[in-house]
Amino acid sequence: MADNNKKRAAYRALVDRVLNGTGKASKGQRALAFGDEGLDQPLRTLIGKVATSPVQVTDADFAAAKAAGYSEDQLFELVICAAVGQSARLYDAGLAALAEATGQREA
């Protein structure tokens, strides 16, 4: 339906921007943060927590990433990519379950 397409389109615009637009972190790093896979330490710990247990993120996680050479702007972007990535997987899983339950293709 038209309205739902607007919600979904607005979401896709957000995902597309954080992954494919310009940034201080490379597109490759942003994609790895979005997918929560394939990152080296100490970024792996920070990004993993953002994706699966964000309340456990600590000052030390950010300090370790900065000590490894990541700038604050890069961490801003990578944390956002991780948050959007996890929510995208949930959104997709919900829509897939709905499509299966109704026997329809996802709109």
């Binding site: 739902n4 940034g23 899983a93 709905l98």
Partner: protein, 193 residues
Amino acid sequence: MRLDILNRGYGPRTKLLFAVIRLVSGHPVPDAAKLVYYRPDFYGARAKEFTHEAMRGPSAWSVGDRELMAAYVSKENGSTFCIAAHTATASQAYHDTPRVVAVLADLDSAPVAEPLRATLRMLGKLTVTGALSAADMGEVLAAGVSPQQVKDALAVCAAFNTTNRLADAFGFEILSSEDFQAGAKFLLKRGYR
């Protein structure tokens, strides 16, 4: 917040805007609002647009229902800032604080209609486990929720699973009850754009 750029990295126009907001409202600018003003071309502009569509765009769910979904998803994520902010907003939207408190304390016994209860249960399971089966979704549809309502609820879920993570990762400062109430009033008047 944990990144200095999110506390102090704003340009003169944005700093002025924050000062005006503080002066006019008599309340601090919440970190949730500050975040979307930092390099808005990267995240804030599109995040605001999507969140506004999900929370205030046309839907068979009321604004109160969607704010309750936001509070419930936040509770499942243990996101203190967002629980407080959206408990206040849902309570004001419904003019019914006990109902919101009851849902967050025990969904099964709370005084809400079955379609909303089934939808909240589904959003909670998706948020916590990351997965849903067709049978899970079948229960929601059997409770009388339309497929479009499910899609609308999933959009709210996506918006708040993003915001909850940013609130806790960046470390949004917890506000006073009065400040959260003022923020809720603003969200009901102006939305998320």
